[in-house]
């Protein structure tokens, strides 16, 4: 279940962000603030983004910001920044409204978390429901209880 990965305060909605990089930084900062990673994880994600481009924009409108498992990761974690006005990342999947971030201490946790996440996100209407959710509690119900 995804609820074990999202720490307190790790879901934020706001109007927009100055840039994709700013949005990624903010989303990953939620992992730091909720005790899932050290501060250094932000740099690791931004380095990957600079080196490779927006490779973690893995579906239309959705980014899953992450870096490979490292000592910066304290616990498996996820966070979400939802923007009402999307930003451009340079990916074919632009524009991006849902900036998830995640961290994993090792490859097996990584697979388990992505499996849970993929199963939820490949369900019809989940994406739209997350985009249109009028309150944080609605987003939490979708992510944690599969309530559409």
């Amino acid at each position: 279940m995804l609820n074990s990965y999202f720490g307190p305060g790790s879901i934020v909605t706001q109007d927009t962000s100055p840039s994709f990089m700013a949005a990624v930084t903010q989303s990953v900062s939620l992992l730091v603030a909720s005790g899932k990673t050290k501060l250094s994880y932000i740099d690791e994600v931004l380095e990957s983004l600079k080196a490779l481009g927006p490779y973690f924009v893995i579906a239309p409108g959705l980014a899953l910001a992450h870096a490979k498992p490292s000592d910066s990761v304290l616990a498996p974690g996820m966070a979400l920044l939802r923007l009402d006005e999307p930003v451009m990342s340079g990916s074919a999947n632009d524009p991006v409204s849902l900036i998830f971030s995640f961290c994993s201490p090792n490859a097996s946790e990584h697979m388990e978390m992505l499996g849970d996440f993929g199963q939820l996100m490949s369900t019809d209407k989940v994406m739209n429901s997350l985009l249109n959710a009028s309150a944080l509690s609605v987003i939490e119900d979708i992510l944690f209880k599969n309530a559409l």
Binding site: L52, Y55, F56
Partner: protein
Amino acid sequence: MLGIEAEVRAVSIEEARGADKMAQVILATPEILDQLGGIPAEVIAINNIFDLGELGEKLKATLS
């Protein structure tokens, strides 16, 4: 869906390129394809990782 048994792993680019090149098929976003040249595996670009239709179609085309 495809009736294929497979071992699936999440790996970094370095691991995919590393000494243990055991993968038969690698799924990646288009941005990473350049980094995966020269590996003895079928590399498939996936645009929407949650689209089971796209995944099924591309895997079927590669594995058949």
